[in-house]
Symmetry: C2
DNA sequence: AGCAACGTCCCTACACCGTAGACTTTAGGC
DNA sequence: GCCTAAAGTCTACGGTGTAGGGACGTTGCT
């Protein structure tokens, strides 16, 4: 009479009883973060979630900060930046929308995304968080931008993109169900004579279309960048023959 | 034989021995935050800094989160948004630079600035953090924008602005002294074949001119917004006679 | 088969955190 | 000089991250 829980030698892992791995730890952490927020993501709780002693986690992340870095890396790896044959503006636009959706899927990760790099010099950040930068630089180079112009474009673009995402996430927290009601309720609290415009905007705030707003902003920015920066490469997907060395 | 430390009855406050006040607490908190970062700003430490029992702080902030909110409010109150007689674009530009400088003066507050609102529905945020929004709405209204257009402009503008600030703060942490060296050092760590462009950009990254970068982005964005949105009010400081009620 | 070495994991312990609740001290009005 | 309310304090509790050391299973060598 074998106990039903741990009969197999190393079969189908009774309950998280497989060998841990960095990936397993990180994705459990992400799951917890998505489900219950940053405050819930403690070493002890995560250990419990994995059916392990909290201390075992330190085999896979040097400390909590590193674990959080790992999670942001994991999330960013969901973002595919693959060059295709479209104009650079369209590619950047697509990437922006992808990142926006990613952020909406993992809203609790966004604070980490924008906050962690503030305490780490660029060169020491997890590679996974630098990869998008490199890839966009390469995309722009392929579109004919010089290195420094690429950097300028990247900065304006990513800056706006992150700003938009923060903006959008700030505007609703509440369930889209009772959105209107709660929002109005909140706004109603504001002193009428000090915040007349904000209060008057309640309905407009209530039906915020993030994708459209992002798109418009991008249109302005990208066309502005296109007309300002590149000497010639405004459309074509590259002069095509500059794959220099190797 | 009086002890030299506490001779006066209630004279010149020997050492932080005055009656506390919310303002005193908050500005001590800000000081500590500026000097040693968010991690150092604990209730116990702040109490110690003020020469008081940590528990006394709870008279002036309901809990730590509220205290942090108070600090962001305090910082934002340093930002003066006073309408003047210039074109709206120029006013927004000035405000943007002011906010940028404010952020550079209090870099450790920036994470709070962008992060705290994510967990508070708009209407329940500290009034001090909503005031800039209201004031900018009013500035735009005075420039002839309709309420909804104002909102769109505000979103694009503030989104870009916050994005830029985050970007800029991320690019150097290190002392401007050994900036170059450290930066290169960091970058040198990156695998050469995976990050060729980023590594090549080291010198360009090293002399980043934040103000200029912000200004260019703003030019693009503001002129784009001007040409896209307002039906007529593209320059003039307002039709001038709409101070409706009171 | 036996054994040594090593990586994985758990246990214990410590210093520190936020804060609830009851207490003492202080300041001001009568 | 008392009374009262506010301001400040003390004690204590349950939580946190993580250092150090020991237990254990797995693996590779002989």
């Amino acid at each position: 009479m074998m106990s039903p829980s741990n009969d197999s030698r190393q079969d189908h892992v009774p309950r998280g009883r497989a060998r841990l791995s960095r990936e397993a730890v990180l994705s459990a952490a992400l799951e917890l973060l998505d489900a219950e927020g940053l405050e819930a993501l403690t070493m002890r709780r995560l250990g419990q979630e994995l059916g392990r002693d909290p201390m075992s986690l330190y085999r896979y992340a040097e400390n909590r900060a590193a674990l959080l870095d790992g999670v942001t890396e994991l999330v960013l790896s969901e973002l595919a930046i693959v060059p295709d044959d479209r104009v650079w503006q369209e590619q950047l636009r697509r990437i922006a929308h992808d990142l926006r959706l990613l952020a909406l899927r993992h809203p609790n990760v966004v604070p980490l995304l924008v906050t962690r790099p503030l305490s780490t010099p660029l060169g020491l950040r997890p590679l996974g968080t630098l990869r998008p930068l490199e890839q966009i630089l390469s995309l722009l180079a392929e579109a004919g931008f010089g290195p420094e112009d690429s950097l300028h474009v990247y900065r304006a673009y990513y800056g706006f993109l992150y700003g938009h995402i923060l903006n959008e996430l700030q505007e609703f927290i509440v369930d889209p169900e009772e959105n209107e009601a709660l929002l109005r309720l909140g706004l109603h609290r504001l002193p009428a004579k000090e915040f007349p415009r904000l209060r008057a905007l309640a309905p407009a705030l209530a039906d915020y279309d993030g994708a459209a707003e992002l798109d418009q902003g991008l249109s302005i920015l990208l066309s502005g960048l296109a007309s300002r920066l590149p000497p010639d490469a405004r459309k074509g997907p590259a002069p095509s023959r500059i794959d220099s060395s190797e």
